[in-house]
């Protein structure tokens, strides 16, 4: 049925490198006018990079784009807008202090800086576009305070205002309620009837089936397959999404598993996770798998008291515990190495030394004043233990490579002698060599009798390191596999949301 439709976009050999790393390699993709096209792939498969290249936010390292048969150069977001390409981010970009109407027309007005702002026309146009979408919003109110769903509607109105032929929606449904998703889908279908093309990036196969005509699957920056949605099953899609063969890392020793360290039962935080229960023993590594946004990090943050759960019990070493803030968690022997290194992990302007000792004030300052000698001794010992590569303990931590920064943060928490260690994507953005070192280190920690909860989106990492793997999807634990029976396919099956509804 697609063959009759004219071609809107032809992408040929699109490649993109960031800092010498290939994020996209030689992607070819054709988009028909008037289709809704799903773009699927694991985290980091290159979907968003491809979308940003189409929208002029990134420039491809190599490759050519044709629009309606003509070669085009999408050199900037404004160039994309003029060509009729609009990208709608998951968290829409806006000017919160400006009115809804201005946000719809911003960037489209003609005339010099001193030309008049045609308020009446702006307001009338904005009303018209929102009416076309069936959205009733006061266009003179400021953007600040609008719900995410309404902000998305404003973005879609923006794309109508610039008469976009291609509208890219990057995981638009993640923050929406089911009813808002319905509205969005109805609008998307209407836009398709008008002959516009939509790229729909999502993890939710159910939604893709409801909405899309064709699917394209990306993996590790490469285009793997494009098929009509009716000609491919969910299982095939999942297989294509993961289907890589990675050399397997094997944990050297399995630790002896001891008594219960952490027991969690019926932990819930509305909007983040529901009814999470598991038991973690000393010497055990439990993997927490799932897609980004499944609620894994929220569970970790709840355990560490950053954003405590609303209900449920936590017991540590067999004793019931209340954890309402991180200091209480640390007191109970928990440590949490967060995923967002730059945002939550490091004190970027401070030295490596100060970063290492940040969690143990009592050890370096037994008398209330910091003992430089103790601080130096403790931190140089830690650097040796984890073989952190650096020029000097005094150098700012941001000068270290990503892997060594991550080691330093791990070292900081190990210095607190934690009994329970929560690692959130500890090897993200680290090169392969350092990864293996990390795996050894995590294995050693378990062997030393620590209980480890490892959050990871990398399936091979979970499979090779963990004694057991729990999979979360939409805030719930959907599966548990012992190490022996877990496979990439079975984890992915449990991770992909099936309900089409937000948690």
């Amino acid at each position: 049925m697609m063959e009759g439709l004219p071609m809107l976009i032809e992408a040929r050999g699109i490649s993109k490198q960031f800092g010498g790393v290939d994020v996209l390699s030689d992607v070819d993709l054709d988009l028909h006018a008037g289709e809704i096209h799903a773009l699927l792939g694991e985290n980091g498969a290159g979907k968003s990079t491809f979308a940003k290249i189409l929208a002029g936010i990134h420039r491809p390292t190599r490759g050519k784009l044709r629009l309606n048969g003509q070669p085009v150069d999408v050199s900037s977001p404004i160039a994309a807008q003029k060509l009729g390409i609009a990208l709608i981010h998951q968290e829409p970009i806006s000017f919160p202090d400006l009115s809804v109407a201005e946000n719809i027309v911003m960037g489209r007005q003609a005339g010099g800086l001193l030309s008049r702002v045609p308020w009446a026309k702006i307001i009338a146009d904005a009303r018209r576009y929102l009416d076309m979408l069936g959205v009733s919003l006061d266009v003179t109110r400021p953007m600040r305070g609008l719900s995410i769903a309404n902000q998305q509607m404003v973005e879609i109105a923006r794309s109508l205002a610039s008469d976009s032929k291609l509208i890219i929606m990057d995981e638009p449904t993640a923050p929406l309620t089911p009813r808002e998703v319905d509205t969005l889908f109805n609008i998307a279908r209407r836009l398709r009837e008008e002959g516009r093309t939509i790229i729909f990036i999502s993890h939710r196969l159910e939604e893709v089936r409801m909405l899309c005509d064709r699917v394209t699957i990306f993996r590790d920056g490469a285009h793997i397959a494009t098929q009509t949605i009716d000609s491919i099953s969910d299982d095939e899609i999942i297989k294509l999404m993961i289907g890589r063969t990675l050399k397997k890392y094997m944990r050297k020793h399995m630790a002896a598993i001891g008594e219960t360290a952490l027991e969690v039962s019926n932990l819930s935080l509305p909007g983040a996770f529901e009814d999470v229960s598991f038991t973690l023993r000393r010497g055990e590594i439990i993997g927490l798998g799932g897609l980004v946004g499944a609620g894994r990090t929220d569970v970790a943050r709840a355990l560490f008291g950053v954003a405590p759960a609303a209900s449920g019990q936590i017991s540590i070493g067999g004793v019931g515990a209340t954890i309402n803030k991180p200091s209480e968690a640390i007191e109970l022997g928990l440590s949490f190495v967060p995923e967002d290194r730059a945002g939550h992990g490091i004190f970027s302007t401070l030295s490596v030394e100060h970063n290492l000792t940040a969690a143990i004030p009592n050890l370096i300052a037994p008398s209330g004043f910091i003992s430089r000698k103790r601080e130096h001794g403790i931190s140089s010992q830690a650097v040796d233990d984890l073989s952190i590569r650096l020029a000097s303990l005094r150098q700012p931590i941001v000068e270290l490579s990503g892997g060594n920064q991550q080691k330093a943060i791990l070292a900081r928490w190990l210095l607190t002698e934690p009994k329970i260690l929560i690692l959130d994507e500890p090897t993200r953005g680290i090169d392969i060599g350092v990864k293996a070192e990390f795996y050894d280190m995590i294995g050693d920690l378990a062997e030393a009798g620590r209980a480890i909860l490892l959050i990871s989106s990398e399936l091979p990492e979970l499979l090779s390191l963990c004694d057991r793997i729990l999979v979360m999807s939409e805030g719930r634990i959907t599966a548990e596999f012992p190490r022996e029976t877990a496979t990439q396919e079975s984890i992915m099956q449990a991770a992909v949301p099936r309900t089409g509804m937000a948690a």
Binding site: P77, Q81, I93, G107, L113, S115
Partner: protein, 328 residues
């Protein structure tokens, strides 16, 4: 939400209420405060601050700050004063374009430093605050421009009036406020300034030439400071290298912040700023009447800023709570 409440929740209404309460309280002790004469005093105290506040408002809306406007005022006033001294026969009105251009060049300097080197404006203008002040000393040999040098026509502008007995200097200040209103509200430049301050990361994605807008805003701030410089010479009849414009930036930022302009950019109106200036003017006019010495004026200004911000915050929080109650 009723229209009345939406008006009440606006920052401007809050300042107006503060002005009324302040005047009523002062009037209770000193009834002569509530006469036309003191309105005149208030207005005469404010034109320079009004012009500086318009400049600062645009800069703050763009999520920058200009600490150097007092020094730009001083330097421009000095350039004009020197011109009158060296060329006594020059046509007096020529002082206006000279002062405005001088200020514009200094402002452009700030803008270039901010945009070319991507330096934070608070640091750049802290530097030029000293630099421009130092240059004022150098070009003047650290000597004051005396009363006899300033053309009589210029000095008279602060007292004489074309209409309704309102002196020229006040008319000019309100004309500048009107001009700023038009720029802020009705030109692409103004809307792009709000957009830039509201979300600097998104601005280039939406086709805003960030460098151009930033340069224009700083240059405009300089030009308005230059205008304030020549009006200083008119109002006070002298130009002193160390006093002229010193501390001006403080009064101006006080007025602008009281007027509801956010230091986080993107927020602020001319009406709010005008009211902020008038509130400060009322305070300044009331102090001598109440027998409070001028030496405590800065402390009082500081207190007024803090009180105004605290009142505003608590009013808004209450407003937000009651609003969320009515909508949910």
């Amino acid at each position: 939400m009723t229209l009345l409440r939406s008006i009440f929740l606006r920052r401007e209404a809050g300042i107006l209420v503060m002005i009324v309460i302040f005047c009523a309280v002062v009037g209770l002790y000193k009834p002569q405060f509530l006469t036309g004469q003191s309105l005149r005093i208030v207005l005469l105290l404010t034109p320079l601050i009004m012009i500086g506040a318009m400049a600062q408002m645009l800069v703050l809306i763009a999520r920058h700050v200009d600490l150097s406007i007092g020094s730009m005022l001083g330097f421009s006033a000095m350039v004009v004063g020197l011109m009158y001294r060296e060329y006594p026969d020059i046509y007096w009105l020529l002082g206006f374009p000279v002062a405005i251009l001088t200020g514009a060049v200094l402002g452009l300097g700030n803008g270039l430093l901010v945009t070319l080197f991507r330096l934070p404006s608070i640091i750049v203008t802290l530097g030029t605050l000293s630099l421009y002040r130092g240059l004022t000393f150098i070009i003047s040999d650290a000597r004051q421009i005396n009363r006899s040098v300033i053309p009589t026509e210029l000095k008279v502008m602060s007292r004489t009036s074309p209409i309704f007995d309102v002196p020229w200097i006040i008319l000019i200040a309100f004309a500048i406020a009107l001009m700023t209103f038009v720029i802020a509200r009705h030109t692409q430049l103004g809307r792009q300034t709000y957009a830039l301050g509201s979300n600097p990361e998104a601005a280039p994605l939406r086709g805003i030439d960030v460098t151009k807008v930033t340069l224009i805003v700083f240059t405009l701030a300089g030009a308005l400071s230059g205008l304030a410089g020549i009006l200083y010479a008119s109002r006070w009849g002298f130009v002193n290298p160390s006093n002229t414009g010193a501390g001006f930036e403080f009064q101006v930022i006080a007025a602008v912040v009281i007027g509801g302009v956010s230091i986080n950019g993107g927020v602020g109106t001319v009406m709010g700023t005008v009211l902020g200036v008038l509130l400060l003017g009322c305070v300044a006019a009331a102090l001598p009447l109440l027998g409070i010495p001028g030496s405590t004026q800065n402390a009082i200004y500081g207190a007024v800023i803090l009180i105004a911000l605290l009142i505003d915050r608590s009013v808004r929080q209450r407003g937000a709570i009651s609003m969320s109650r009515t909508t949910s």
